[in-house]
């Protein structure tokens, strides 16, 4: 029993086992959903009774699902791209102190994070109905920009203040105008942080229900809304199949992003 052992404060067997159980608990619904999507019966047992790919076939040929996937993707990509452009520009102005009141401004841009999503949803419902824009796709995109841009701003602000400003100054003195300095020096350096922010933003948009459900017209049902309303009407394995597809897609994206930028350091 030396000093090294005593001051190590490593987690003991009980704590480690408990922690691993909790981590397993975290994966539980995911595992269950995947299993259910292959099950022949519409309820799940262990071991599952029968394997089938029927549900996948059903989902991939069902226009309702395909449409929902398409709409969700277009919405998420548009909102993320728009958030990136608007968010990075605003973050730059704040991080480089080009305008007074940086702290207050940053808080304002990230304010949507502090307001419950359902409240944002109903507020937008009322407002856009009033100006006659409810049900438009552009309205949806703007709404999604509002809820995703805080993540971009947070990442961008962190990345921008983390880099040595002298590099931008060096580029300027060497003959680059402000935009060129940004493009050639700043942007490459903040890219990993931006990727992390964009990823969050994409995910938030893809899974959003509280804001989207108040604004989406009948022809704009997104995937999460479809699943949400389907479940209200009764559980079918079709829902499980769609969910499994989403899980696989998320896994792929996560692994790719980690491989590409090692972004787990920025989460």
């Amino acid at each position: 029993m030396g000093w090294a052992g005593m001051t190590d404060q490593k987690p003991g067997f009980i704590v480690s086992s408990f922690a691993l159980l909790v981590v397993f608990f975290l994966q539980l619904p995911v595992i269950v959903v995947v299993l259910a999507s292959f099950s022949e019966t519409s309820y799940l047992t262990i071991p599952p009774q029968g394997w089938t790919l029927d549900w996948f076939r059903e989902v991939l040929t069902d226009n309702t699902y395909l449409n929902a996937i398409k709409i969700s993707l277009i919405l998420a990509v548009s909102a993320t791209c728009l958030s990136l452009v608007l968010g990075v520009a605003a973050s730059y102005a704040i991080a480089r102190r080009m305008v007074p009141g940086s702290e207050a401004l940053a808080s304002f841009l990230m304010a949507p994070l502090a307001i419950p999503a359902v409240v944002i949803g109903v507020a937008m419902l009322q407002y856009f109905s009033l100006v006659g824009l409810r049900g438009g796709f552009v309205t949806l995109i703007i709404a999604h920009v509002v809820i995703t841009v805080p993540y971009i701003v947070r990442s961008a602000l962190a990345s921008l203040s983390g880099m040595d400003v002298a590099m931008e100054e060096a580029a300027r003195v060497l003959g680059a105008d402000s935009f060129t300095a940004f493009r050639l020096v700043t942007l490459p350096l903040i890219k990993p942080g931006l990727v992390a922010g964009a990823l969050f933003s994409f995910v938030v948009s893809m899974e959003n229900v509280p804001v989207t459900i108040f604004l989406a017209g009948a022809r704009q049902t997104t995937l999460p809304i479809l699943i949400f309303t389907s479940v209200e009407m009764g559980v079918t394995p079709g829902v499980a199949a769609v969910s499994t597809l989403l899980i696989v897609a998320t896994l792929v994206v996560l692994l790719l992003a980690e491989r590409w930028t090692g972004f787990h350091r920025f989460v």
Partner: protein, 283 residues
């Protein structure tokens, strides 16, 4: 000054979008909440009333919802702390080789669609769901336990959804605990448990607090999970707002509820940031 002009140009587009699509809509909730609603006739546009707000406090049904929401918030936060701390501890202080896989396993559910996760719990907790089937099969119980469409279901589901947030905040906080302080305590004769209780735990207090605030605020604002796992009977504030707007069409009441909920969350966040600022000053 050139800087100011270009700065405003960079800031303006986003600021405009947020003001027009976020700030103004929110502000407009307020007058609506003071209007009266008449079923079948719509919103009465002359005359103001504070009845909507009073209802929240006086009406038994509303009060029950508010209390239930707050209770859920506290319980979920407590559970997340209890379950999350060991996980964070394992990640930070355990075998470094496990660190990346563990972090990925904690983050992965976060990336998953919220609806999908809640759906997973339905599959698990239903009367003919996995858990009940398992328990019946091995003979532990005879009739299915009611694990869903009640508070238990909501509790389990919400804890699961927000646990990763708590873990991540605790990890950040644990990482900042200086190891020398613990080593110093050990040389002064503290047992391992005592070191944890007297040193590690208090030093992670900021992380515990910020994680708890985050989980609490998220829980009381939650819509999807309580709706899917609580069913139409067990309402929380968010689901009630949803119903008032979409089904009952009682926008004024919904607005009053919304504004109250938003006010509560902003107040909590603001108070806690004031507290942490003061704490940081003392530290």
């Amino acid at each position: 000054m050139v800087n100011l002009r270009s700065g405003l140009l960079l800031l303006a587009p986003l600021a405009l979008v947020l003001v027009a699509s976020f700030a103004i809509p929110l502000i407009m909730l307020v007058p609506t909440s003071f209007r009266e609603y008449s079923p079948g006739h719509g919103i009465i546009t002359d005359g103001w009333t504070i009845r909507n707000y009073l209802n929240i406090l006086t009406d038994e049904y509303y009060r029950e919802v508010v209390v239930r929401t707050a209770w859920l918030g506290i319980s979920v936060t407590g559970l997340c702390l209890l379950l999350g701390y060991p996980v964070a501890y394992l990640i930070v202080r355990g075998n470094p080789r496990w660190r990346l896989p563990l972090v990925m396993l904690v983050i992965f559910p976060l990336m998953l669609n919220l609806v999908v996760r809640s759906f997973g719990w339905i599959v698990l907790l239903s009367n003919r769901g996995l858990i009940n089937n398992l328990l019946i099969d091995i003979g532990l119980i005879e009739r299915p336990l009611k694990l869903i469409f009640n508070l238990t279901g909501m509790l389990i589901g919400l804890t699961h959804i927000y646990l990763p947030f708590m873990v991540l905040m605790l990890v950040a906080s644990l990482q900042n605990v200086p190891r020398d302080v613990e080593a110093a305590a050990a040389t002064l004769g503290s047992s391992r448990f005592h070191i944890f209780r007297a040193i590690t735990l208090p030093l992670t207090a900021p992380g515990i607090i910020s994680g708890s605030i985050l989980v609490f605020v998220l829980t009381i604002s939650a819509l999807v999970t309580p709706r899917m796992l609580g069913g139409p009977v067990y309402q929380v504030m968010a689901t009630l707002i949803y119903d008032e707007y979409m089904q009952l069409l009682d926008w004024p009441s919904g607005a009053a509820l919304s504004f109250s909920l938003a006010f509560a969350t902003v107040l909590i966040i603001w108070l806690s940031s004031r507290m942490t600022k003061r704490w940081a000053g003392l530290a």
